[in-house]
Each structure stands twice: as structure tokens, then as C-alpha cells.
Amino acid sequence: MHGRPRKASKPEDEAASAAKAVKLRSLQSQFMTYHHEKIYTKEAIELSTKLLEINPEAYTAWNYRKLAVEDSLSRIGPDPNLVKPILDEELRVVENALKQNFKSYGAWHHRKWVLSKGHSSTGNELKLLDKFQKLDSRNFHAWNYRRFVVELTNRSEQDELQYTDDMINNNFSNYSAWHNRSVLLSSLLANRADGFMPEKRIPDEFEIVHQAIFTDPDDQSGWFYHLWLLDQTVNVESPLLTSSWPSHGSSVILSGAGCLNGPPSNVTTFCSETGSFPLILYFDQAVGGVSPLTVTIDSELKGNENLVWEPISNKSSQVSCVWVARLKYFSSQPCGSKDHKVKVRLGNSPGIVSSRGYNFSAPYEFVFTVHVQDTAEDSHSQESIVSWTDGFELWDAQSKDLNSLFTLDQLNNGIDLKWRQAAIDSEIECFRLLADSKIGKLTLARLLMASEAMTLDAAVKGVYYEEILQLYNDLMALDSSHHQYYKNEHSVAFLHKVTSSSESLSRHLFRYRDMNNLVCLRLNKLSLSRIASVEKLLFVQMLDLSHNELHSTEGLEAMQLLSCLNLSHNRIRSFSALDSLRHVKQLKVLDVSHNHIGKHSVDTTRYLCSSPLSNSDWSQDGVRGQNPGLVTKYWDAYFVLRDLNLKQLDIAGNEIADDEFSSFVLQVVPKLVWLNGQKPGN
């Protein structure tokens, strides 16, 4: 099936081939008779041997042989001197079959089955494996079988690590050996085995993998191993809190639904119809176990005794980087003074655990103030249309206003940063020497990003961004097949740069007069192909991402305060791409006009959206009962829009947006006030 040249067959070859076919056909039907009649005579078994020699993929023949062996064993009893020859014969047949096709699943499994009976020499097996390594060092069947034998013999991980050393020294271009090495080493490091301390071992491994990368920069064998080492250097095992909203030392004004039509306020005003505000915790990796037992909240706000913490993730997951609890601030009991301090503490009791099993252990607390404001009762708020073009002014923010928006990354107390920073600096020096190659530039860009992430010193922070952006520009030209990959990384680096200081962020902050000077973050017309740095933007309530190159809202689910979002003139291809917005319960205004919805037959977010397709949402309602055909046709619009509480939606300029679709939308979102700038029903 693979690697055979295409050529017209000559008549004499055809004849020979046809003769072989007839012979094989007759062998097969004779075999079938023996198999169905359960005949396990010597003659019958030999027939199956012949069959497997010609065609090791005939799986039924391997099954037959197992039945024949069991039949023999049942008749001769347990004497090892009688059992061993029978099993040895099986091993011989397997070896012959493997000579025909050393990738035959059936052959390798049969061998495992025989070895599992416990009468065969495992020493022979390792010798056999050496032979196969020489034939093809990438044969994954052989490597898997090796792992099987190693487990049977209890060979140590250190010995197996040495084996990968030998393989790599023999030929660095052996991805299978590097892979195996990563498995063994990560286990040895995790167990803190003798001589396997990360701060010594990781730098040594960097040295080793350099040879693979520098000898031939186009050979991928060492690339992924190097990336793993980088991950081990940069990422601490235990989870950390990256940011929160409200952030430490900030002040927030909390009000009722009508507040946005009331008197002017500053940036930190939050209005809610439900009388609760989201307390957001953003961790550096997915964690579970966030609950009132593991996160304590001291405040005078009443009505929060049975607080529920939700992970912002799809329904079947109990872990997430982002956790939210909704704290009530209006209640039947008046709360005395209107300013309340809220203290949040975590890490004092165990229970917050990363998906890899590491505990959140460093105790951490943050304090913020909330001012509860009486509502201007008019609850028919936000009936007026939100415009994205008129009514904006650059917000001349004072740094003191902005500082409260930024949380410092949780201080890495007690974490040994020194060896990590030294390793990164050393790698940066090395890879500057490889700066002409693709892998050199890419690795250098990643190293510089890692270095930025680790830098706590505000004076030095941000120095690398220009270089990083240039490297990605170079890569887009050098390796055009992967253009979009580098474009995405460029957008990520760009957003990190924008959010790296209050000064750079303030250039993108505007005030929207018609909504009470609500602060709007404008990141339009920046060729952004990807969203990033959301952990620094949790305070954002109005976001303009129009005129960019986004095709998904992945990442925005953390923006729990977001009420207005502009995604017009992007590359959104379907409503399933907006699935993350289902978590943004505050969202009222959404503009997805002038995108590509309905233009493509392939939906790349089909399985990243909760629906019956991914067995994650079957709930029925009236709309589905009455319009099953339309629900199937517009399934993703149905499931996504149904979960949003939109007042204003723009879908014009998308191929999907005809009359049938527009009226379907109005059925699914009955509370919609504005569709495409008009009041429906007019």
C-alpha cells in the first residue's frame, strides 16, 4: 500500500500474480474450514503458518493460532519442558512474519500474548529489539514492545535513559529516542530520583539537545524536546494566581441596572440587573477545587453565605484557569456604611489542585473596596442603541487610575527563579548564534518572550518586544507555509507589549459618552489574528476589536465584565466560533457584521462548541420543538445565541444573514431590542 511505484503491469507479471491469487485463495478457504471446525492438528497449524508467512495481516489466523496453543496447552499439562517448545514455535512464526512486515499489529500482539504466558526469555526479546532498531530506529511497534518488555523485566528508568543516550549518540536524528527520553526524564524528575534535580539536570539536557539542533537546523528531531525543556524551565509546577478582578488595592463602584444613564463616574463602575458582581480569579494553569473551603472571603456584604464558585469552561470540565463567584451587593438588609472592604484569601487550606496534580500552596490574599451606590431606578436601561463610531474620547488616564487595573503577578516567593533565569539567558546567547535559521529565530523569539514573562524588574520589562515582533516578521517571510502560525504569535506578542505598561495601555483606552463615560478598550485595525493578555484586561466592559483578522473569540470567556463587544470586519466563519461568549453573562451588545459567517463549508470550531455533536448539550425548548429543520440548519447560531442575553445584535454583511436567518434569530433571542440597527417588528 505504501511506497510502491506506479507502473502498468506486464502480461507475464499479471499471470504470475493471478496464479498467486488463486493459491492464496485456496489456502485461505482451507484455513477457514479448519478454524470454523476447530481443527488443531499439526497439519492444520502448519497451514496457518504458511498463510501467515505470505500474509501476516490475516488477523483471524493469529486468533486461530492462539486457540490452537490453548488447545495444546490444555492437553499437555503444566510441565515447562513441554510448554516451552510450543511457545517457542509461536515466537519463531512471529519473527518470520515480522521479517515480511515489521509493522504488523497482529504479529507484535501475538508475541506479547506469548510473553505474557511467562515461559519465554526476555533477554532474547531485548536482543531481537536491538535487531529491529538497526533496521528502523523509528519503528514505533518495536519501541512499544520495548516498553512492554522493560515492564516485564523491571529494568530501571535510569538504564532505559542510558539506552536513549546510546541511540541519540549513534544518530541524533531519532525522534523516537528523544520522545522516550522525555518520558523517562520527566518521571525521574517528578520523583526527585537520585541525581535528577531540575536545576542541574535541565541545563545539562539543554547542552545535549543543542547538538541535535545546531548540527542540522532543519532536522526536527530535537525541536520538540527543546520546547519541553523550555516549558520545564519557565513554568513552575504549582499553580499561581496571575490576576483577579477586582484587583488588589482597587476601588469599585457597584450599582443597579440604571446606573449607566446616571451621573458621570470613573472607570471602576459596575452595573448589574441581578445585584451581584463577578469576583474573578485567573490562575496560570487549569485548576480544580476552588470553593468556599479553599477561598475565604471576608466582607460585610450580606447574602453571600452559600457562595458558588464556577469554573469558566465547558460543562464536562471541573477545571479551569478562570474561576468566578458572584457576590451579592444588594439585599433586603441595608448594609450600614456604603463602603465595604473585601478581603480574599487563598492557599491557606489545601484543595486547589492543578490538572497535573500539583497543589496551590503559597498563601495569598488581596483586598479591594466596593462602594454600593443607590440605583437610579429606571430599569428600562440600555434601550438606546450603542454606536461604535460616535461619542468616543481618548481617556486621559492618570497612572494612579490605571495602576488599580493592573495586578502584579503573584510574587513568586520561595520559587527558585535564579537557575531558571540563568538557563534562559544562556539559551538566548546560544540561539543568537543560530539567528539565520527558522528554528533559530523561532526559538529565540520564544526565549525572549519567556524572559519577559519572568522579569519582575519594571525598569527592564518590555525591552525585548520590538525584537520579538521583528523575529516573527522575519519568520513570516522565511517560512511562508506557516505564515499564520507566526502571525498568531506576533499578535500575542503585540498584545503583551500593549498591556506591559499603563502608559502603552492608556493609548487604547477611550471613554464612551453615551454610556456614562464607560471605558472602552479599542484594539481595532491592528491586524490582530489572535486574542491574548486577557488576564490583564479583566476590567474591560466595552471592547472594540473591529477591523482585525480574528476568526474566534477563544480567550474572551474570562472577560466576565464585558457588556459590549465589536467584532465587525473580522474573519469569523460561524457562530460556533463565538462559543466562549456563552460564558460572558453580562454581554448585551454584540456586533459581528461583515464577517464570513455562512461562507465556508468547513467549520473549524464545530467541536469546540457545546452541542449534541459533542454530546454536551441536548436541552430542548419551544424553538427547537417548532423548528427542528431550522435548528439543524443553523445549529451553532441556535446554541450560542440561546445562551446569550443580547439586547443589540448586528449580523449584516454575512452570507448567512438573509430574511430566513434574521427571523430565526428573533425567535431564538426574543428579548432583542436592536437587530442590524433597527427595531424588529417595525
Partner: protein, 320 residues
């Protein structure tokens, strides 16, 4: 020589491929005798390709369906061909073919699903048959098959997902068993199984996405692992995986389409693993399926997780 020098992109000779498939079904060549035991897979590849090219009507549905039923065992499982032993591989292909013809209703769904569910082990993994070979391919097959039959609740989905996640490697990919090297075929199986069970949050999409996009070689074709040759079948396994995790924009789709088209036998029909190699049904299916994922005109849309046309899967998923 069969490579055309006409347009840059090349053309899909759909009619030739249809004829190739219909003829291959009837041949009694050495190749077809050797592949006798996996005829059920071959039928699935051939028939799905025909449906993608909107030519499923050219085969006799009754003939196919009655042959399929001769392959079913008393255990409920299906064999690769009449007389062979049952195996989970062929059970999925049988169910997939019946789904194409919208004939799932002829099955004793309880019996088939019990056979598949019975192959789940304590640790959540799946065996291929009673002889106990374990592989994440079988996890995918069980999940895909039971989802089509709407019997996913017959297995322990949580444990099944747990086992698949235990096969995740440090490069973001997946292997056949825990600790096994990442391979595009296994990755498709694991990502597909996670997609169908709403569990894609277990995948590090950026890490795996980069590993997958680096399968594109200078020829435009995709290989299955680092430093291996490109092969049309990876146009399916790598491409569908990239689509399921929304990272397909990280490869050059036009170059890949051109590679697939260059693997066609423009005279006799059929697609091969690499340009100028011998064609076969397997690569014909993967080439056409790959072109479907690349939105090549004239090819129906295929679902990246179930490997069946989107209209077939939508029909099954959205009706109670």
C-alpha cells in the same frame, strides 16, 4: 507520464476515481485477496468516497447491506469479511456504511452496542477484540461507533477519556498506549474521541497545533511524524486533527491541495500515497476526504471527527 502540466493547482478527476472504486470492488487480484480480511474497511473507504463525490447511488445498496450482515457474529461484532472473526475495527466500518445509507435501523442496536461496550477495560481503555490488544485507536472506534448508535451511555465515558488523556505526550500529541510516541494517526483517534465526548479542553491546542502544522514538508504534503516522508493519508489525519482544534490556518492549504492532486493517477483514476506511486482505495479515500476538508469544489463536506459526510452526521445528531 500521468502528471499534467496544465493548471498550477491541477484538477480533481472525480469521474475517474468513481470508476476506479467501482471496478476495484469487483477485482479478484492478488492485492484484493491479500486484503480480503479487511474488506469492510475497504468498503467504507470506497463508499464514503463515492458519497463525497455524490455518487453513492451508483452502487447497489441492498447488495452491500446484505453482505455486511453476513459479517456479523453472534457476539454482535462484525468481521472484516464473511467467515473472519469479529473485531472492533470492522464493527465501526459496518456501522459507518449503514449510516451512509441511513440504514442503522436494520441493526439490533442493543446487540452491537453491547459488543462494543463489552470491550472496555477497567482502566477505561478498549481492547480490539476478545484477545485483548489495547490501543487508543480502539478508544476512538468505540466512542465513534456508540455515538452514531446513540448508546454512549453504555460505556464509562469519564474513564475512557481518562485513559486517552494518559496517552498524551509532552509534545502535545498522543500515542497508542501510555508512553508511546506521538503519531498523526493516533492523534486523530484521540482528538476525535475527545471531540465527540466534548472533552477537547484536555488538548493543549497550541502545543499540538504546532507539532501538527510542522508535518507539512517542502513538497506541501504532510508526514505523520518528524523526519518521515509525506503521505496522502496524513492529509486526513493531520488535517482533521488541526480542524478539530481550530489550528488548520497554521498550514498552507493550497500547497497541500496541490500535493493531493499530484498524487492522482489521471489516466486510470485512484490516488496514491505519493506522486507516481501505485494507487489504492485507502489513499483514494484519504485524498478525497482531505480535499473535502480543504473545501475543494465538487466535494461534499466531511465531518472531521466521525469521518462521514456532514449531512449524515447532522441528520443523526440533531434528531432525537
Amino acid at each position: 507520464m500521468s502528471s499534467a502540466s496544465s493548471s498550477q493547482m491541477g484538477q480533481l478527476v472525480a469521474d475517474k476515481h468513481v470508476r476506479y472504486i467501482l471496478m476495484a470492488e469487483k477485482k479478484e487480484s492478488l492485492e484484493s485477496v491479500v486484503m480480503d480480511h479487511l474488506r469492510m474497511n475497504g468498503a467504507y473507504w470506497g463508499l464514503t468516497t463515492l458519497d463525497l463525490l455524490d455518487k453513492l447511488g451508483t452502487v447497489s445498496e441492498d447488495e452491500v447491506v446484505s453482505w455486511i450482515m453476513t459479517c456479523q457474529h453472534e457476539s454482535g461484532g462484525f468481521a472484516g469479511n464473511t467467515g473472519h472473526d469479529p473485531h472492533i475495527l470492522y464493527t465501526l466500518s459496518a456501522v459507518q456504511i449503514l449510516a451512509l445509507f441511513d440504514k442503522i435501523n436494520i441493526l439490533d442496536v442493543g446487540k452491537v452496542s453491547s459488543y462494543v461496550a463489552g470491550l472496555q477495560n477497567e482502566d477505561g481503555s478498549f481492547s480490539g477484540d476478545m484477545w485483548g490488544e489495547i490501543d487508543t485507536r480502539f478508544s476512538y472506534i468505540a466512542i465513534c461507533c456508540l455515538s452514531i448508535l446513540k448508546c454512549l451511555d453504555k460505556i464509562n465515558v469519564e474513564k475512557a477519556v481518562e485513559y486517552i488523556v494518559s496517552c498524551k505526550n509532552l509534545d502535545g500529541g498522543f500515542g497508542c498506549t501510555p508512553g508511546a510516541e506521538s503519531h498523526a494517526g493516533q492523534i486523530f483517534c484521540c482528538v476525535g474521541a475527545l471531540a465527540i465526548t466534548g472533552s477537547l479542553h484536555h488538548v493543549d491546542k497550541d502545543l499540538l497545533g504546532w507539532w501538527l502544522c510542522e508535518r507539512q514538508t517542502k513538497t506541501g504534503g504532510l508526514n505523520g511524524r518528524p523526519e518521515k516522508l509525506p503521505d496522502v493519508c496524513y492529509s486526513w489525519w493531520v488535517l482533521s486533527s488541526l480542524i478539530m482544534i481550530d489550528r488548520v490556518h497554521w498550514i498552507d492549504k493550497a500547497k497541500l491541495a496541490k500535493f493531493i492532486l499530484d498524487c492522482q493517477d489521471l489516466d486510470n483514476g485512484g490516488i496514491s500515497d505519493r506522486p507516481e506511486d501505485a494507487v489504492d482505495i485507502f489513499h483514494t479515500y484519504f485524498g478525497v476526504a482531505g480535499l473535502s476538508l480543504l473545501e475543494y469544489p465538487g466535494v461534499k463536506a466531511i465531518d472531521p471527527a466521525y469521518a462521514l459526510p456532514v449531512d449524515v452526521i447532522n441528520r443523526i445528531a440533531f434528531t432525537k
